[in-house]
């Protein structure tokens, strides 16, 4: 079985999300990578170096410069004659493009696969991840998106695939890019940050949050979250709240500082890849689900941590 894998890139290098998609595709068979964009030759060469990629298809055209699904999907469909599967990481780009491809191929997509159980059998999250479904595709060809935190990243070097240019159907003329606001700000957005530092009521007040949580977040380039109790007490504004009634996050690393771990909070971060807890109460429920726990007074431990990083 040969899969065509969508490569997320920034024209110069390949994004981590792609490496997870490659791992997933490699479990199904051979992997060919598709790099589409404008002036993205360097990204294609980077893709060629990914371990496990046997070939890279490069579609370099102004029509693909902004990843418009109306232009990309026909490109992919035109190539799919040679492939059994189209695999994309479940990034916003992947989620935008893959279903359009699936409909044009008249297949049903499998979204956000967590594991591969067989050539056509996968597990995926439903009901906001509260239930895991095992599904089997009956279509002749497969279109799937991959949850990146569920698959280890393939090595970015070690491969030496050939890069072949392909052409698509150009601009469909249905859509155009107007502008973008990429948050290059001091702090990444909570729901898309790779690392999140979150504070609870134990921080005592807004000043405590500012003095303890923010410096650690800055050091790690992390997003900042809070428990409902901290938000209710006014330490930080409402949009920092992580939990059942706040934001649901699933970063690579979630550091819970002074948070007891009530189930309402866990509901908002239980899908984080690694949970780290710092709390002076060793019986706090958070330690029952934390991968790494430190029983310590946060007012001493966190500044020390920030300094030593």
């Amino acid at each position: 079985m040969t899969s065509l894998v969508w490569v997320e890139h920034d024209n110069k290098s390949v994004k981590d999300a792609t490496l997870s998609a490659v791992t997933a595709a490699a479990q199904l068979g051979d992997v060919v990578a598709l790099v589409a964009g404008q002036c993205c030759g360097e990204a294609a060469r980077a893709a060629a170096r990914i371990a496990g990629v046997t070939r890279v298809l490069l579609a370099d055209d102004a029509a693909y410069g902004h990843g418009l699904a109306e232009n990309i999907a026909p490109l992919v469909v035109g190539l799919m004659g040679d492939f059994d599967a189209f695999i994309a990481p479940a990034t916003t780009a992947g989620k935008n493009i893959a279903p359009r491809v699936a409909a044009l191929l008249d297949v049903m997509q499998v979204s956000e696969i967590l594991s591969i159980e067989g050539p056509k059998t996968f597990t995926r999250p439903i009901y906001a991840g509260n239930v895991i479904a095992t599904v089997e595709s009956r279509d002749a060809r497969l279109v799937a998106t991959v949850r990146t935190t569920a698959f280890a990243k393939a090595a970015a070097t070690g491969g030496s695939a050939a890069v072949d240019s392909v052409t698509g159907h150009g601009d469909a003329g249905l859509s155009s890019f107007v502008g973008a606001e990429i948050a290059k700000s001091e702090r990444p957005e909570l729901t898309s940050a790779k690392v999140v530092v979150s504070g609870g009521r134990a921080l005592k007040d807004a000043a405590g949050f500012e003095a303890i949580i923010m410096p650690l977040a800055d050091k790690l380039g992390a997003g900042v979250g809070a428990s409902r109790a901290a938000v209710d007490a006014g330490y930080v504004p409402n949009d920092y709240q992580v939990g059942q009634t706040g934001k649901i996050v699933a970063p690579e690393v979630y550091i819970a500082v002074g948070i007891s771990g009530a189930i309402q909070h866990l509901a908002g971060m239980k899908d984080s890849k690694t949970i780290i807890a710092i709390n002076k109460d060793e019986d706090a429920p958070i330690f029952q689900i934390a991968d790494i726990g430190l029983v310590a007074d946060l007012f001493e431990a966190v500044p020390e941590l920030t300094a030593k990083l």
Partner: protein, 545 residues
């Protein structure tokens, strides 16, 4: 503020529980042409309904005689094995049937979810043309120029925590009616206002309550015995009276729970803690091991009985169901009596509307109730609760048993015992400390994870619906005298005292956790907390409870 819009009905019913829905159905059965609307603060019918329940079908037989053929879910499990246990710490004494009068044996009763029964009643009501509006809380009683009740107004929606309108602000609506029936359940907040306004409780004993906590479990199939109904007394309660229940219902589920009389004096008592402790009894936990908890909830239940029933009618309306308080305490049944009261009130309304009346007093409701089987039933058991409250679990039960037998045999004495207010607490310094073991997360649980499975949700940015008359009282009075018992009597962990070590204790109200049980409105020793309805649609979303 702009004028509220108004809608006119012949009858407006506040509360979509068994009483409210039965009244609605009876009204439309009697006269299909009258307009009837039911307002329900829960997000759907059943969302706020919590009961054991073992239901006497007597009223259902009167209201909809072919209820079994009409696929009423209650028909699924008839009670076939009724047991009453006295628990000791490790063992039990099963009370033999011949010791209690026949009407205590649950013959001919059914066990199931009252919430599901209400959902079925609602579909029956809608088929008859009743308009049901879930997600709308009645927030205000409306009076006409004669001082009669002429309807209710729903609460404004989209008000921020600071009291100011948010972008999605919507003014409440007035619903005008010729008669308004209040079916809010035990300790209804508008009912409380009406009772005070018309002095309906001038001649009756104070109402007293128990707090009922309940969980719904999926249990191991081999342990499931549908129709098995167990009530327990005794262990673990020391400082209060009350007891547990465990009912094997449909779909492999068990409904179990615990009721604690709120007249307890020891401020260190936690009804939630007693419930979790009771589940650890070997005979109880045996059913639960290998199972999984599905839901949790809590609600107060009337225990005052006949002598605490206030005047039921006032110009323009009436009280039906637990809003008035018709629970038969020894049978632990209030659904059939609530429904009967609702049907009697509906009949009175039909007569009044037929005679072209409106906005006046439905005296025929009270007279009809006084000569109904409902009155006979409640008069028979009126001294049971006071005897147990006064003389304790063992002696009180013996005396109550004697009293029940005497009245069953027709030789009851013409006395009626009264009640003390639930509010009285002993000081912490005079009370025995009680320790509760930490939850194991398998059989016993903490309050927050319990609130989680009650599916409780409130719009966060809204005014706090638990109103303190004096914001200093919790710290100034309740904390030093009683160690602020709100921390313990609230089954949802709404009330917390924080920052004690820092020396600046604060009283925190986590209003979003509120289960709408009304315990705080009853038990606060300073009578400081008034529960009002939060924005409609908020609160628990009980599944099959």
């Amino acid at each position: 503020m702009s004028e509220r819009e108004a809608m006119d009905y012949d009858v407006v019913i506040v509360g979509g529980g068994p009483a409210g829905l039965s009244a609605a159905i009876r009204l439309k059965q009697g006269n299909p042409d009258i307009s009837v609307c039911v307002l329900e603060k829960g997000s759907e019918i059943g969302a706020h309904i919590l009961s054991g329940a073992v239901i006497d079908p007597r009223s259902l037989d009167e209201l909809i005689p072919d209820w079994r053929e009409r696929e009423c879910p209650l028909a699924a499990v008839a009670v076939r094995d009724n047991q009453h246990w006295f628990l000791t710490r490790k063992g039990k004494f099963s009370v033999p049937h011949w010791l209690t009068p026949g009407w205590m044996h649950n013959k001919g009763t059914y066990t199931g979810s009252l919430g599901n029964l209400c959902r079925w009643l609602a579909s029956e009501a809608e088929e008859l043309g009743v308009e049901i509006f879930p997600g709308f809380a009645a927030a205000e009683v409306l009076y006409d120029e004669h001082g009669a009740v002429c309807g209710v107004a729903t609460g404004d929606m989209g008000v921020g925590r600071d009291g100011k309108p948010k972008p999605d602000y919507q003014l409440g609506m007035e619903l005008h009616a010729r008669y308004t029936l209040f079916a809010e359940g035990a300790r209804g907040h508008l009912t409380k206002q009406i009772i005070a306004h018309f002095s309906l409780d001038a001649d009756c004993a104070p109402q007293v309550y128990g707090l009922g906590l309940k969980e719904l479990w999926d249990i191991a199939p081999e342990k499931h015995r549908p129709g098995l109904v167990i009530h327990t007394q005794g262990w673990p309660l020391k400082d209060a009276y009350g007891g547990g229940f465990l009912y094997h219902q449909a779909d492999g589920q068990v409904a179990l729970g615990f009721v604690v009389g709120l007249g307890y004096r020891n401020p260190n008592l936690s009804p939630f803690g007693e419930f979790q402790r009771w589940k650890q009894h070997p005979q109880i936990r045996a059913f639960l091991e290998g199972g999984k908890r599905v839901s949790y909830g809590a609600r107060v239940i009337n225990e005052g009985g006949w002598q605490s029933i206030p005047k039921l009618v006032f110009p323009g309306g009436a009280l039906i169901g637990c809003a008035a308080g018709f629970v038969n305490v020894p049978r632990i049944k209030g659904t059939h009596t609530a429904m009967k009261s609702a049907m009697l009130a509906a009949d009175a309304v039909l007569g009044a509307l037929g005679a072209g009346r409106g906005g006046d007093t439905l005296r025929t409701y009270e007279t009809a109730l006084g000569s109904s089987w409902l009155a006979n039933e409640l008069r028979m058991v009126r001294n049971v609760q006071p005897l147990i409250a006064r003389f304790g679990a063992v002696l009180g039960t013996v005396l109550a048993g004697a009293e029940m037998w005497m009245r069953t045999l027709g030789i009851g004495l013409p006395y009626t015992l009264g009640h003390h207010s639930d509010r009285t607490l002993l000081r912490k310094s005079q009370s025995r400390p009680i320790s509760y073991t930490a939850p194991d997360g398998v059989i016993s649980f903490d309050r927050l994870s319990s609130v989680f499975v009650s599916n409780t949700n409130h719009e966060e940015d809204q005014p706090v619906h638990l109103r303190l008359a004096d914001s200093e009282a919790p710290i100034a009075w309740n904390l030093p005298l009683y160690d602020e018992p709100a921390q313990r009597y609230c089954p949802a962990g709404v009330y917390e005292i924080t920052d004690r070590e820092a020396g600046t204790p604060r009283f925190v109200i986590n209003a979003q956790n509120c289960l709408h049980c009304k315990t705080c409105d009853i038990k606060d020793p300073a009578e400081n907390i008034t529960w009002v309805a939060p924005e409609g649609g908020g609160g628990p979303n009980y599944p099959n409870m």
